[in-house]
Amino acid sequence: MAKFHVTATVNGEEVEYLCDPQQTMLDVLRDELNLTGTKEGCSSGDCGACSVILDGRLVCSCLALGAELDGAKIETIEGMAEGDELHPLQQKFLEEAALQCGFCTPGFLVAAKNLLERNPDPTETEVRYWLAGNLCRCTGYDKIIRSVLDVAAEMRGS
């Protein structure tokens, strides 16, 4: 079966890859582009560990195909920090211990970043509603929600 030749922009850099039709966007990110920050949790669209931003929209990379990304603009967890400087959400998650095992954390960070880009002043309900597709089995969510609200307030202030 012929492979697909795809050119896309990932975290601001143009990438090229070959993939089979049955490789998901997650497979391509991890196995072809070596961007292993995006995690595979359930692989069925339930847990949000594989969250990425595709053309500005938060999606499960496990439920998109690698072959459909020609010309797409993709943002992953690897694009959040600038060099050694963490994104404010990353910094706050560390300070507030908004993670335990950490497996869901890249998904939460990407989802929260996408939320704050669309809505810099979300209510707690809006944060919870937005993060409904990201599951965390460790924290009980409270520290995550608080961290996102704190960062939103700080980013509005600066």
Partner: protein
């Protein structure tokens, strides 16, 4: 996933041509159900024909008493659309309550109703609003479209192009979501158009269905009180680890009352 060929036609005609003469082709219209199903190897299509580049399947247009939504319009776009929110706010609210943001950014109206999951939200909205489903070859009324569990009136190679919703005087949707999946344990859409009222229930049975007794009661008195004593029999309703048939039957009345209240 088993191997398959992947196609991205640009026109309806090309998509239809790709559907013919292949072993087991499937249309891809968002993929939030089809791709997990393929991963679980419950589906193994020979070909995936992705409709996302096909022209004419996008867009939301209001023309007088009708709101038309293209088959490939994603749930998040329906939820955020000013036109939908003004014409049929209950439909925007329904779309905004499907799954989670990740699903709503990919899933489409056409994909949802073609799949006709017995717990999906859109079938209730389509049936209660007496929507008309347009395909590449004909128009199908919602009453004829939804046939049963994962079954529709669509031919094997028929492609949904859009759905036309008559704008109601009042409409409301209330669902009791499964807390994990956000699929409807029971969802009830109530719509008053002219002097008639239609009540459609999803999640409770093997397919979306109407409740004539509630429709009659609401036509003469559009209030939650009017249907407080009307219940549906539990015979034949879904029964699983999330709830018994009796529990779902009870939820139908509770959700119908809430839907009416939200429509007032």
């Amino acid at each position: 996933m088993y191997e398959f060929d992947y196609h991205t036609p640009q026109t309806i005609d090309d998509a239809r041509a790709l559907l013919s003469g292949r072993d087991d082709p499937k249309l891809l219209a968002g993929g939030q159900t089809l791709l997990p199903t393929m991963k679980q190897r419950l589906a193994a299509p020979s070909d995936l024909i992705d409709l996302r580049k096909v022209t004419g399947l996008d867009g939301i247009t209001g023309a007088g008493d009708t709101l038309r939504i293209g088959a490939m319009v994603r749930h998040a776009a329906v939820a955020a659309s000013d036109e939908v929110r003004q014409a049929i706010p209950a439909l925007a609210a329904l779309a905004g309550g499907i799954g989670d943001p990740l699903v709503r950014h990919r899933g489409t109206l056409g994909g949802s109703i073609a799949n006709n999951d017995p717990s999906a939200d859109y079938p209730a909205g389509c049936l209660a609003l007496a929507a008309t489903i347009s395909t590449d070859r004909r128009e199908i009324g919602a009453d004829e479209f939804f046939l049963g569990m994962f079954e529709t009136a669509l031919e094997e190679d028929e492609i949904i192009t859009g759905v036309a919703f008559p704008v109601p005087r009042k409409a409301g949707y209330a669902k009791f979501p499964n807390p994990a999946s956000r699929y409807a344990m029971v969802g009830v859409f109530v719509a008053q158009t002219g002097n008639a009222v239609r009540v459609a229930v999803t999640g409770a049975g093997p397919g979306v269905f109407r409740v004539p007794a509630m429709e009659t009661a609401l036509a003469s008195d559009f209030s939650a009180q009017a249907i407080a004593d009307i219940s549906v029999p539990s015979d034949g309703l879904l029964e699983d680890l999330h709830g018994s048939a009796e529990y779902r039957a009870n939820l139908v009345t509770v959700m119908a009352k809430r839907a009416v209240q939200s429509a007032l």
